[in-house]
């Protein structure tokens, strides 16, 4: 970038650049004049995209290490796909040829990055269907939902997985798409039931800011007051308008239905619950009984939304992936290289997801986990990248079968009121997780224990709309703004963020992933009118203010963070006047 005087280059750098320079010089002499000629032709004749594509091919054959040429090729191919130009109508024909082409580059010098990103783009083109799909929903198809207007209930009459307590007079319907979409509304999604008018439903995107697109959408149904048993039918995409951010229409209308049962409030219990605190400690859990296995099967059915259309049409996709897997296995048998391992890991996961989309089988997950562990050693500079990927694959594995998920399900039994059975708690504690994932399979969870992990981020957790109780105790959360996803959880009442690193670091990596005046994602009027700002110095506490002001917590644990001194706690109490308990102490 800058030409400047230099003293002595490092010997190893010099050797590498000399070698590269020699390679380049040999080629440059050949095509310098050729290049000029091409530019001249392009200017004067306005070459077609097909010609330009050929040109990038020539350039790449001259020198595989040409990031610009690979970039141009991806731009041109996308344009040709989009135009549906002759010869580019089906990706089925074009992509296998592109794979062959990129192999020549990657296999010539696996450490040269020029082709890496092009290969990942081809993989994305192979895996991602143009049209968005509904991946899961809550409630799922065939659910029996028991609604209780108080926290205390006995779930034994129905499946505990689908018993939901709500004190807000409503319950959510959650739609989880396989890619971000816009245009979800009461005209593109129809909800038919006896107790709500479809046109009254307001669908909201669950995205971290004020956008109109998201993977996850939610609407709230009012809990019926007279109608104690009713059926709800949801049809998605029967009229046009749901569009992916890539510009493709949702074209596979689907439908699901579930039953709602209302259990009226029982006064006796409600009084008990007010003073009761929830403690996600070992002694309060017992392994979830096998007698209720049926209910877990129920939670897996949520993925059985009629989606048969893709499996037959996508044969070429899994064939292409299988062939790639073979190629990269071969490469790795010849040499140990990180891009070989990384690509193989990505291919295997994509293959499993594509081959068994609704059977939830992950036949290769052990192998993929091992590959990521290898990469952590092979390329320690990017350790945390592989660690995050490892966590996501581990979560996919845990949630992939009934058997493995059951091992993490516990019955919560409150020590104070032991007579009352609480809901099921999913415990993913102490798994060395650095990142959370598999949300599409966890929409039903109301109590989640993520304590004793290494989480730095809870990105995506906003999808878990039913969460009422969450422990993030002893993780690596570094700032209050990292809690932004929790702002969207309207049922969250109990939160444990004790023993994290909040306040330890001067640079906040989620400063711009949180809604605030810095990013113009909240209006200035929202600060001016609040009474709370009179007592709270905004300049010192803006993160606490913007994160916690929308929370509806009863119970918060924050001890063990640098930020949590007495002064800060008094600020929290002002921001959350409804808070009943802070760090185990009842508030007056």
């Amino acid at each position: 970038m800058h030409g400047r005087p230099r003293k002595t280059p490092k010997p190893e750098e010099e050797a590498a650049s000399v070698a590269k320079a020699q390679k380049l010089r040999a080629l440059q002499t050949q095509f310098f004049s050729f290049h000029h000629n091409k530019i001249f032709v392009a200017e004067s004749m306005k070459r077609s995209e097909q010609d330009e594509l050929k040109y990038t091919e020539d350039m790449i054959y001259k020198n595989f290490s040409n990031y610009s040429a690979w970039h141009n090729r991806s731009v041109l191919l996308s344009a040709l796909f989009e135009k549906k130009a002759e010869g580019f109508l089906s990706k089925e024909k074009v992509l296998p040829e592109e794979y062959e082409f990129i192999h020549q580059a990657i296999f010539t010098d696996p450490d040269d990055q020029s082709g890496w990103f092009y290969h990942l783009w081809l993989l994305d083109q192979t895996v991602t269907t143009d049209s968005p799909l509904l991946a899961s929903s809550w409630p799922g198809h065939g659910y029996d939902v028991l609604l209780v207007e108080d926290r205390c209930y006995n779930g034994s009459a129905f499946s505990p997985f689908t018993a939901l307590h709500s004190d807000s007079g409503s319950f959510p319907i959650v739609l989880y798409f396989n890619q971000p979409v816009g245009g979800v509304s009461s005209s593109t999604v129809t909800v038919e039931c006896g107790f709500n008018k479809n046109e009254d439903l307001l669908w909201k995107p669950l995205s971290a800011s004020n956008s109109q697109t998201a993977r996850v959408w939610v609407a709230h149904l009012k809990i019926p007051s007279s109608d104690l048993h009713s059926t709800v039918e949801v049809s998605v995409g029967h009229s046009k308008g749901i569009i992916s951010t890539r510009g493709f229409e949702y074209s596979h209308p689907s439908m699901f239905s579930f039953k709602v049962h209302v259990q009226p409030m029982e006064r006796d219990f409600s009084q008990v619950s007010v003073a009761e605190s929830i403690s996600l400690r070992e002694e309060n859990f017992k392994i979830y009984g096998a007698q209720s296995e049926e209910s877990i099967i129920n939670s897996f059915n949520q993925l059985s939304i009629e989606n048969g259309h893709e499996s037959t049409a996508s044969n070429w996709r899994s064939e292409a992936l299988a062939k790639e897997i073979e190629c990269f296995r071969e490469l790795l048998s010849l040499m140990d290289c990180k891009i070989g391992k990384l690509t193989l890991a990505r291919l295997l996961m994509a293959y499993d997801v594509m081959s068994y989309p609704f059977a939830n089988k992950l036949v290769h997950s052990e192998e993929v986990l091992e590959l990521y562990s290898d990469m952590m050693k092979l390329d320690p500079t990017h350790y945390q990248y592989y660690k995050d990927e490892h966590s996501m694959v581990l979560l996919q594995k845990v949630t992939s079968s009934k058997e493995s998920l059951l091992q993490h399900c516990f019955q919560y039994k409150d020590s104070v009121s032991s007579a009352i059975c609480g809901p099921i708690c999913l415990r993913l504690n102490n798994l060395s997780l650095s990142r959370m994932g598999a949300f599409e399979k966890l929409l039903w969870v109301q109590m989640l224990d993520l304590s004793d992990n290494e989480l730095q981020s809870i990105e995506g957790l906003e999808a878990m709309q039913l969460l009422s109780c969450l422990s993030l105790r002893n993780n690596k959360l570094r700032s209050l703004t990292a809690l932004e996803p929790l702002r969207k959880l309207k049922l969250l009442r109990v939160l444990d963020i004790s023993y994290n690193q909040i306040g330890d670091h001067s640079i906040d990596t989620t400063r711009y992933l949180c809604s605030s005046p810095l990013s113009h994602s909240v209006g200035s009027e929202s600060t001016k009118d609040e009474t709370v700002t009179r007592d709270v110095a905004l300049i010192d506490n803006w993160e606490a203010f913007y994160i916690f002001k929308d929370f509806n917590l009863n119970q918060l644990d924050i001890v063990g963070n640098t930020i949590a001194d007495e002064k800060f706690k008094s600020v929290l109490v002002k921001i959350m006047p409804k808070l009943k308990q802070l760090d185990g102490k009842l508030l007056g």
């Binding site: 750098e13 610009s68 731009v75 996308s78 990017h382 990292a482 640079i507 005046p517 810095l518």
Partner: protein, 311 residues
């Protein structure tokens, strides 16, 4: 490991300003406004902003403002939006934004029909100018003067299939350009449009064996990318994907420990541009003793917070 030679760097920055006959001053004469921003911000991060004469700087800045409202790189040069941002940033550093006549700044007029921005009256278009316009107006709390929706959609039209951004649609990804686009999206609450995992992987692979960062695949590392790559990684919360200690070491290895200043690579000649990017990079890496810098506004965090959260 070597330590940051704070006092030497302060001395170096102050000497560049004073020594108007030096080679560096002569070649940088036309972009002295940028130089002022680099030097003064670095001084502030080092905790030594009080060693300059505020009134002198402010009166020089105001002399660089043209009738059209734009600022030039020095007295007597042509105005360009590049210098307008530096001028506004320096005024923000000194808490002197009130000396500006905001209505006179004609940034709105540089926005084109498609949402893009031109840098000056000659009309060159580049996503850098989108960032500059948005950052400038945001600091002045009048972002509503432009069509933000169109500005965002133009930036998105420059998004590439590697997750990065180019200077115009179809342009190749480059770390400097990525900072501008991710920064502009951050300032407009639009980061959800960024494919964080894809871009994060591309950006973290900019770290080479020596620990330094490059700006594109297969290029040499350079201290300035400690800003462009690092701030982008921070804005999308993926900075833990690189080895921070190795990068700290690389930056410290680029110091001139005798005469102060930081260069692009170890053993090269220093300049004020790389001195700023080195210090700012270390600040982003939580280096002890430095003030924290904001990854989107490229100003100290306390300066940014003063603008948005006081009063």
């Amino acid at each position: 490991m070597a330590e940051l030679a704070v006092d030497k760097h302060v001395k170096y920055i102050l000497s560049v300003e004073k020594n108007k006959d030096s080679f560096e001053s002569v070649v940088m004469d036309h972009l002295r406004m940028n130089g002022a921003y680099w030097g003064l911000t670095a001084l502030d991060l080092l905790g030594k902003l009080d060693s300059v004469n505020v009134d002198e700087v402010i009166s020089w800045i105001l002399k660089c403002q043209h009738e059209s409202g734009g600022f030039s790189g020095n007295i007597g040069h042509d105005p360009h939006i590049l210098y307008t941002l530096s001028a506004v940033q320096v005024l923000a550093l000194f808490n002197k934004l009130d000396v500006l006549d905001i209505d006179k700044l004609d940034i709105t007029g540089l926005q084109n029909e498609d949402g893009s921005f031109s840098g000056d009256m000659w009309g060159e278009v580049d996503t850098r100018f989108s960032y500059i316009a948005i950052c400038c107006l945001s600091i002045l709390c009048c972002l509503n003067k432009i069509n933000v929706e169109k500005a965002v959609s133009y930036i998105l039209s420059c998004k590439n299939l590697d997750g990065g951004f180019g200077c115009t649609p179809g342009g190749e990804s480059h770390a400097g350009q990525i900072f501008c686009c991710v920064g502009a999206l951050a300032l407009t609450g639009s980061l959800h449009y960024v494919d964080k995992d894809l871009l994060g992987w591309w950006l973290c692979e900019r770290q080479v064996k020596s620990g330094g960062l490059n700006g594109r695949p297969e290029k040499l590392p350079d201290v300035c990318y400690s800003w462009w790559v690092l701030s982008s990684l921070i804005m999308i919360d993926r900075v833990h994907w690189i080895d921070k200690e190795k990068l700290v070491k690389f930056i410290l290895d680029c110091q001139d420990v005798e005469n102060g200043g930081i260069s692009d690579r170890p053993d090269d000649a220093v300049d004020v541009y790389h001195t700023y990017f080195g210090v700012a990079g270390l600040s982003l890496l939580n280096y002890p003793g430095l003030k924290a810098i904001d990854p989107a506004y490229a100003l100290p965090v306390d300066v940014v917070n003063r603008i948005f959260f006081s009063g």
